[in-house]
Symmetry: C2
Amino acid sequence: MAETTARALYDFDGDPDNGELSFRGGDVLAIIALDIGDGWWEARNDLGHQGLVPEAYLQISEEPPEPSFPPPPPPMSTPPVGGDYPDDPRASQYSTGTTSTTNGYNSQYQNTPADIGGGDYPVGGGFTTQQSTDEWDEDEWEEDDDHSSTSTDRGTSQELHLQGQGNFGLSTAKREPKQISPSGDMSKYGTVKKSFNRFSHFAKAGGEAFMMSQVQNENVSENDVITITETADGPVWPLPTDTFTCEVASPKKESKLKGLKSYIAYQITPSFSNIQVSRRYKHFDWLHERLEEKFACVPIPPLPDKALSGRYEDDFITERMHLLQLWINRIVRHPLISRSDVFHHFLTCTNEKKWKEGKRKAEKDEYTGGKFFLLLRTPVAQLEERDVDKTMETFCKFVKGMDDNVKGLITVMNENRKKHLGPYKREYQKIGQSFKNLATTFNLDNSSFSGRLTAAIDYTGDTYNQIGDMFEKQPRADLDPVLDVLYEYKGILSTFPDVLKIHEGAVGRAKECKKEQDEGKMSESDVQKVVNKADIITYGTMAQMSHFQAERVQDYKAMMQKYLKEQIQFYRNITQQLEETLVKFEDA
Amino acid sequence: MAETTARALYDFDGDPDNGELSFRGGDVLAIIALDIGDGWWEARNDLGHQGLVPEAYLQISEEPPEPSFPPPPPPMSTPPVGGDYPDDPRASQYSTGTTSTTNGYNSQYQNTPADIGGGDYPVGGGFTTQQSTDEWDEDEWEEDDDHSSTSTDRGTSQELHLQGQGNFGLSTAKREPKQISPSGDMSKYGTVKKSFNRFSHFAKAGGEAFMMSQVQNENVSENDVITITETADGPVWPLPTDTFTCEVASPKKESKLKGLKSYIAYQITPSFSNIQVSRRYKHFDWLHERLEEKFACVPIPPLPDKALSGRYEDDFITERMHLLQLWINRIVRHPLISRSDVFHHFLTCTNEKKWKEGKRKAEKDEYTGGKFFLLLRTPVAQLEERDVDKTMETFCKFVKGMDDNVKGLITVMNENRKKHLGPYKREYQKIGQSFKNLATTFNLDNSSFSGRLTAAIDYTGDTYNQIGDMFEKQPRADLDPVLDVLYEYKGILSTFPDVLKIHEGAVGRAKECKKEQDEGKMSESDVQKVVNKADIITYGTMAQMSHFQAERVQDYKAMMQKYLKEQIQFYRNITQQLEETLVKFEDA
């Protein structure tokens, strides 16, 4: 079986801790996965080592060479752990798709579910699609976070899994799996997972029906109604009635099947109940999917990325817990999500049977996708098309600009972080060492007037060594919290365009209808209905935009204050160290 | 005429501001001067450009190729200004001498004075040796600081010049001219000039006579006697009776010969007279030579180096003035030199005729070289050979160690300086720019709650830009003063070994005599006389060592205090800037 191969254009020294694979220019690598995202592929060299490789360093071989070795054995039904695993049978599909977009990948898949759904050959690492997702511990979910399955396997199984649920009766856009920073700086942050194509989901899941008035909101219970109010700063969501917090803590390694399967469970405690529930990453992932399905005009922040390796290492677990805490914090603060049934189910359910019931209920929620907008009760004032266009144009520019700025800041802050850990520390310690060396020589002179100066210079050497250490430690206090906010916003901003596309689609449809009215093909009252629906979507989108801006101002104010306070403390500490040192020279 | 050529082994990107000449591996360069010192040669490429080249990058061609161009015209009697100048007629003498030491060069010259003294062909750039040095404005001295004469010319003429004076009737060790830092960092400091071989001078100028009691100090006037006293910290020079300071200021470009010759004159004002005298670099140079001849056990700090180029540029002049001020400061502080006739002549003479008289008198001073020790009146206590050996051994270790430490600190501080001017500044300004970019995007949002945060973030951007500027400016306040001290000490430490060699020679001679006494070849009383003389030299050397240590403690205390104070002020300023910035977020 011919596999996709690529030739290395340049040398690449990968960071093995980051799952990267090194190679030299001219090497030919077998490409295992092209859909890792953010310019990375997964590849295998001829020694059988696998890892991530930067796409820009490689050129896909136009004509894959016929393998000079016997074809690999047929795919096994269980992925071998820690060893080589069979080539993905569909990997060669990617060989011509290196420049296609996500949609390009989608189209390759659109006709596959039926074929694969029959399940007569095992896909990837042995996932099956006919299995129900109602199990408390679905084994195939484990693989979401399992290093021994390739990204291709993962991406595909994810897709099949969603399709297998049959909630919408539509094929779902393929999720883009990994985003990995080429700089390697983000490894501690894991990587953010892009939302699957929300617009596509929306359009297919009731969006069209909502817009064209084929569904009504007569059956919406008053409890579920979301009332949007107009303010000087635009439409806003209802204020949350009662706010609460939620702690993610005490990660525990647990296992089942007599230790064959192990996983980390985090203990989650909402402040309103103070009752602890145990949740695994996969439960967060499930929740995340539900929220994306339901809240069509809310960019759901991506979860911290799945681990490529080191899933059970303490540092990784601590960091993931921290990132899950940040994620939960943001969800808790959202006026709609925080009071949603599915989130409360996630936060409160302690009983396995009830969990399954709530899970099934959430997955069958009627008001997801386009139908979500049936829940909105908006101001009656009709919106000015031109005003809306202008507002949305500015906001799109804002999102694009902020996305660029945040990425720029991440780069600068990460570089600064690296400099603190390495060059800055070394620089101060070189000064420190030079002073200490001088003191060593000065110690050779035992003149009565010499000793105190020597001691003071030696002390100065220690001071600069300590300042070097302070530089090394400082990022934990100032840069890391900034980077937390920046990475969070990078994730949110990456999901916003899909939300805005939903609005754009709705407004576009309203404009089409107006045109049809001009052409006499639609009645004024029918068009007005469509325009009203578009307004509802606009109101919802704008309410979310207001929420985003309010949170953004709050978050960035806190971020900047924290950064400046820590910087002030840092330079104050240096000043103080130096002042204490200067005193030593007084009687020298 | 065959000239010395060398082939480049590697590429070299020279700093033209530092007078360096760039070349590529394989280039063949004409070597103009091999005695630049510190691993540098002067060379010319085939485009006729000249400059300094690193010796380690070049290989002297074993057989110099016959020139394919007509031989250059014979040397002219006046060096043309700014243009090419004829090859030194003796440059080829160096072609086999690349690995010889300074003494190796000397030996090549030892027989030449007689030949050249006849003056029947012009040497180098037209210097003549028969000319008296008694002129106020000896033209040939100009060349000491003239870029259009090669270093070879300079070195040779210097030597011939000294010989021509006939003060000692001995050939003088050749002076090592330039020391140029390969790092290029020191360009602003010029380069230090190593002392000529003091030991050789001492030995030939009365040292042997002094040691072997063939001269007596009966004729020394009581005024000239230098009394050394013993203290707990060792022998010390007499305390200076009245201290004074001396200002070097107001450099003026002056010219003579109707503008054909121009030079810079510095105005020097000693505090005891407050009468300004005008002195050129060559006068400092003359003084420096006199001090080296006279004060056999005092390491005379080297003068700031002669300029290779840009002699009349304001920055250079300001910097040279600053370095001459530092040099004068140190001379003024020396208890012997500050009250010496030659220094007072230099500081006070305003009359051309009297200058010539004083100049002649100084050059005929009887008590120079070895005879200097006739002036010393030491404690009567005979020194313990073992104690002296131990003290001197430790001090030699001290000088060597401090020389290494000072060079190490210079490297570290220069690197730190470069980082301040470039990377540190850029790093803070990258952070500043990132914040400003973010503010630009945030400005797109005109929510009522957004504007103040945006303004505060923009302000933070400005703050970090300013901190970047502060980093760039800081070296002038803290590193440059430290580097001034370090370079001064680098110069002093480089001259100390020759002073110590004089002592070592004297002690060695005393030991020889003791051995001869053991062998019955010398009488006890004769040996005792030699030992007493060696003790005088030891006392003198140790008094200077004490002076050095006292100055060293004072200088390094002041240096460290200045550095720490400026560092404290720097970090305090940063803290203050950040504090002012933080306030902007309070009502954001």
